[in-house]
């Protein structure tokens, strides 16, 4: 029994970290209707940033987030201006290839600048918390809390603030929103930059857990795609739900069936969801953007 509890708890905690990483992706998808294939590389860059800050100033990544999140916002804005925005009114494939090219470019630029060495930060909290036979890593618990806080804050922002209302209006009907005086291009820019900033936050949460190297994004970006689809594309609480689902499923199937099946399982689920509920488990018919258009 304690094994089961351990597996479920570990799955929930790691899943929430996956979720945090996926929220930016789902936000960008929900509003701009594009998939950012360079999402994993954004994560990689932000992890390097947090790592560099910890090396230069001895700050832990949770503190480094104060600098990384705005820096990634800026980075996202620049990428939007240079790569995404020029491709937006072209056929859909253009933006797919543009972000893919960006992903390859960033990976190789990182390889040149940082070499392929794996970089780490020293452990922040020495030992795990133990509750009887259950071990919980403090960094993972923190990650969980940050994810919950972030989801709640984002939901509040989307529902209550002017910016949030403008985003929802843009999602519902871009042209009508524009006629009502909402600067849609700027909303796009802010959303893309905001999504990137969220990846920055995820990177700060992940650096104590994972090494950073130029291709680290590849290990996570597929998981992020699965989560976004599972949770309902564009839905923020869906991402949280999807992340935890993937985490727990990975954990249980790896233990009870075989470690090599951990990934197989959630990709099968991914396929099933695509076939039977293409709007995601929490998605609504015809609206890929539950979190934003209630």
């Amino acid at each position: 029994m304690s094994t089961f509890i351990q597996l479920v708890l570990s799955g929930v905690l790691i899943g929430s970290v996956y979720a945090l990483m996926s929220i930016g992706l789902t936000l960008i998808f929900g509003v701009l209707r594009i998939v950012n294939f360079a999402h994993g590389e954004f994560l990689m860059i932000a992890m390097y940033g947090a790592w560099a800050i910890s090396q230069l100033f001895g700050l832990n990544p949770y503190v480094a987030a104060i600098a990384i999140v705005p820096a990634m916002f800026l980075f996202g804005a620049i990428v939007y201006r240079l790569v995404v925005s020029p491709a937006l009114d072209k056929p859909h494939l253009v933006v797919v290839f543009a972000t893919m090219a960006l992903s390859i470019f960033l990976q190789n630029a990182a390889l040149m600048a940082m070499t392929a060495d794996l970089r780490d930060i020293p452990p922040i909290f020495g030992r795990s918390l133990t509750i009887g036979p259950i071990y919980l890593k403090v960094e993972l618990l923190l990650g969980f809390l940050i994810t919950i806080l972030c989801t709640v804050a984002l939901q509040w922002m989307i529902k209550k603030t002017y910016l949030g209302k403008a985003i929802r209006a843009t999602v519902q009907d871009g042209e009508a929103a524009m006629l009502m005086g909402i600067p849609v291009p700027r909303i796009f820019l802010i959303t893309f930059a905001g999504g990137s900033a969220l990846v920055g936050l995820a990177a700060c949460v992940m650096l104590p857990l994972f090494s950073v190297f130029p291709s680290v994004g590849l290990n996570f970006v597929l998981i992020a795609f699965v989560i976004v689809v599972l949770g309902g594309m564009g839905s923020i609480e869906g991402a949280l739900f999807g992340g935890i689902c993937v985490g727990v499923m990975q954990s249980l199937s790896s233990y009870y069936i075989a470690p090599a099946f951990g990934q197989l399982f959630f990709f099968v689920l991914f396929l099933l969801v695509m076939i039977f509920r293409p709007n995601g488990l929490l998605g609504q018919q015809g609206a890929a953007t539950v979190g934003m258009n209630e």
């Binding site: 094994t3 351990q6 597996l7 570990s10 799955g11 790691i14 996956y18 990976q107 190789n108 390889l111 070499t115 392929a116 060495d117 794996l118 970089r119 780490d120 020293p122 795990s128 071990y135 890593k137 994972f210 090494s211 190297f213 130029p214 291709s215 680290v216 590849l218 290990n219 996570f220 998981i223 985490g247 990975q250 954990s251 249980l252 790896s254 233990y255 075989a258 470690p259 090599a260 951990g262 990934q263």
Partner: protein, 422 residues
């Protein structure tokens, strides 16, 4: 006017000099296929640096029979890229000799493309058995085949660890964990078969995906098994994740034997610090007892280690030392005997090589075969004298501990202290 005349005379003589010297010693061009980018780039680049040092050293000595060595790089990130890069080098650049390629999947692809285009492939480190099992004519695998890694690990358990743990081998609980791609699976298969012949049944035997991001289920399963010894085959990132998770969940073993790639990588130490001390690694030896080396090889080895450490600020890992060893053997044992540098001629020279152990910097010898393994009549071009040993991470770096002939030190820290005492 006079100035112009002088200048043009100078220019003309310079031109003459370069063309003459170029005619006298046209460089020998070798295609180096390694993963320079992508997920395997880390080890690929370390191999490249080791090979560069070999090239510099040989060129400083006047090259091979007066001809300098020149490398052409091919970025073999994935098997597909490896094939197209190899073909590019052979068909567009006219390369007749290829080498590389660090990882098994890359080696499989490169050797295939080289064979198809009639080029001579000198594989330095790729280990998968299939590299030499396809009946190819021009592929020579200087490094050890995958089964040898596993055998070294199992032999070490039998000959050394069991005594230190004061248990008969049959009472030892041995667990095997492997990443499920070409290398991990190949080594894992070898260990399973070899321990069976020794009358051992593994207490745990499972593969996992190399890109796994959460090791909790695996560690939890191993905790249920409570093995005495864990043999693990991983790449750097997953080895680090595993060790961290083992610490987090307080999973302890009496001895930990990692196999190659992940466990031999300096990144492991950079990442988990002194927690690495005490872990054994079955791999190409990064450095062997200098007494086993031939005197002239000893000098080459010293120079290589010095240059590598000066260049990369750390000692070479086993695969980098193996990359150097193999390419140095090509420069000093194969190419000097060649006249036409055609693949058929190089093949004949390679097949005639008979170098005892201690002839290569990492303690290996060279004797290729067409026919050695009983179960495998087509295993052509496999080096029977490739040495694989076991070394141990220490506070200062690493020490070769097995087999005794190559050892620089004795195995220590058996049983391994629990995480709470590390």
């Amino acid at each position: 006017m006079r100035r112009l005349l002088r200048l043009s005379t100078m220019f003309a003589s310079l031109l003459l000099a370069t063309t003459m010297s170029a005619g006298a010693q046209e460089p020998i061009k070798i295609g180096v296929l390694l993963p320079f980018t992508g997920p395997l780039a880390k080890n690929g680049i370390e191999n490249w640096e080791a090979m560069q040092i070999a090239r510099e050293m040989i060129n400083e000595r006047g090259g091979v029979n007066g001809r300098k060595i020149e490398y052409l790089q091919g970025d073999a990130t994935t098997p597909n890229a490896a094939i197209s890069e190899t073909e590019r080098l052979i068909t567009k650049e006219g390369i007749k000799i290829t080498t590389g390629s660090f990882a098994s999947p890359i080696a499989i692809a490169v050797s295939q493309a080289a064979e198809r285009n009639g080029a001579f492939h000198w594989e330095t480190t790729g280990a998968a058995e299939i590299i030499t099992r396809r009946g190819f004519k021009y592929t020579f695998q200087v490094g050890a085949p995958a089964r040898k890694y596993g055998q070294a690990a199992v032999d070490f358990v039998f000959d050394d660890l069991a005594k230190r743990l004061k248990k008969p081998v049959t009472d030892l609980k041995i667990a095997l964990l492997w990443e499920n791609r070409a290398f991990g699976k190949s080594v894992g298969d070898g260990i399973r078969a070899y321990s069976q012949t020794k009358g051992i049944k593994l207490a745990y035997d499972e593969g996992y995906d190399q890109t796994a991001t959460d090791m909790t289920p695996i560690v939890q399963k191993l905790k249920d098994v409570t093995p005495d010894i864990l043999i693990a085959i991983s790449f750097p990132n997953d080895a680090i994740l595993f060790q961290r998770k083992a610490k987090e969940l307080d999973f302890n073993v009496n001895a930990f034997v990692g196999v190659s790639a992940g466990y031999s990588s300096p990144d492991l130490r950079d990442s988990i610090g002194d927690s690495v001390v005490g872990i054994f690694v079955a791999d190409f030896p990064p450095k062997v007892n200098a007494n086993v080396l031939k005197p002239e090889v000893k000098k080459v080895a010293e120079e290589f280690y010095k240059r590598y450490e000066a260049k990369l600020k750390r000692a070479p890992a086993g695969h980098a030392a193996a990359g150097f060893s193999a390419i140095w053997a090509l420069f000093t044992e194969v190419l000097p005997k060649a006249k036409t540098f055609q693949p058929d001629e190089l093949r004949e020279i390679a097949l005639k090589l008979d170098l005892p152990e201690g002839s290569l910097v990492n303690g290996s010898g060279i004797k290729f075969t067409n026919f050695d393994w009983a179960d495998d009549p087509k295993d052509a071009g496999q080096n029977l004298r490739a040495s694989i040993g076991v070394w141990q991470w220490t506070k200062a770096g690493n020490e070769e501990v097995y087999p005794p002939s190559l050892a620089t030190s004795e195995a220590a820290m058996v049983p391994l202290p629990k995480w709470s005492n590390r």
